[in-house]
Subunit: 197 residues, 2 copies
DNA sequence: GATCCTTATGCAAGTGGTTGCATAGTATTT
DNA sequence: AAATACTATGCAACCACTTGCATAAGGATC
């Protein structure tokens, strides 16, 4: 399980409370890791028991008290060891793609509704990520190796959203107008690759 | 949970045993749903208890006996109802992207190894899917709505693999040569969109 | 004034999914 | 002759994750 390690990565970058972490998962690195607050609090407890993180209680008068976590030396070496380990391939499961695969069994109107809802969500995400991209682009060649690597994960997120948008738009066209795309995917993709070189 | 419904979709298309289903998840629709054989057998039991599927025992002399499952009328209407329901957004979690995000903490050599292993896997998958694509392309305009919709889910799979390949190649370049890609993602993607119209 | 949102943490119960093991015959490879 | 792979199903224990609830105080909205 890697939630442990995802948390360690975040705490290594910057210490913070469980609440902070849940915000950073949502707003920061949501394009490759997501976790609910319950998961985070449970995991932080385990991490503290294992001495991979330490925390101090910060009492606040205006707001609820919080636990300020930071990674420990043991946590750092556990993280380093994990980075070395082989990584399991994550399995992908998409209920929406199951539905689209079985679209002929469904009421087209109801499917279109779900499709549009998703399309809007992916467009919003894409816009968000493109906003983040400008941070890296503004710095141009001045990107450190570390920043450049982080930019690459963001690019992955952008392409991921774009993929969904294209898929959903194609499905929309098919469901409403019966038009089906003819151009082979690979040709299209490699063409693009050659151009951008 | 949608494993139930993914199984129903497969059985609606064609009845078969638990073993058959696990093959079809792996080799057929693996680009949007995956399930282990333990999961499938457990789920088939539940589905049979709920009367959404029926089975008959087929005794075989040369091979182990098997249970031949097929979807029931109740299963069909449950499936139809599910297709109408709103679909939750699946959360994405990729341990490899966490590692790449934190690449500066890792031994570059060990990371490269993982990266190449994954790159090979995604290239193999892409090749497999492109093989499947020719099935649809050969039929050209003769595709039924049903087939066309299935083709779209495959296109999604192709783009998904392509995205990983590009990401991993870019990371490889960065880790080995320190070169970082400069072209903004969105411009690149939209440019392609205009061309293909 | 009531309701909702944000900050901040947590428990308890349940469901979904993984890991490891077990069985058993045939076929293929070393 | 031995080891591995394929067909075929399943149990038991465990781990990961979700759902629903609870508390608590401030600020914003209706």
């Amino acid at each position: 399980m890697s939630l442990k390690h995802a948390i360690l990565v975040l705490l290594e970058k910057k210490p913070g409370s469980g609440y902070d972490l849940s915000q950073r998962f949502k707003r920061g690195i949501g394009y490759f890791w997501n976790a609910s607050h319950q998961q985070i609090y449970q995991e932080l407890k385990k991490l503290a028991d294992a001495r991979w993180v330490e925390f101090e209680l910060q009492t606040q008068s205006e707001r609820p008290d919080k636990k300020h976590y930071r990674i420990s030396a043991a946590g750092r070496s556990a993280l380093k060891a994990w980075l070395q380990e082989p990584t399991k391939h994550e399995r992908l499961n998409s209920a929406l793609l199951v539905k689209l695969y079985a679209a002929h069994l469904a009421d087209p109107q109801a499917l279109l509704l779900q499709l549009d809802e998703r399309l809007a969500a992916h467009r919003a995400k894409l816009e968000e990520y493109v906003g983040h991209e400008s941070f890296y682009l503004d710095r141009g060649d001045a990107l450190s190796q570390k920043q450049a690597q982080r930019y690459l994960t963001l690019r992955h997120g952008i392409r991921y959203e774009w993929n969904w948008i294209e898929m959903l738009e194609e499905s929309r066209t098919l469901l409403t107008q019966g038009r089906t795309p003819q151009r082979p995917m690979l040709e299209r993709l490699t063409r693009r690759k050659i151009e951008s070189k």
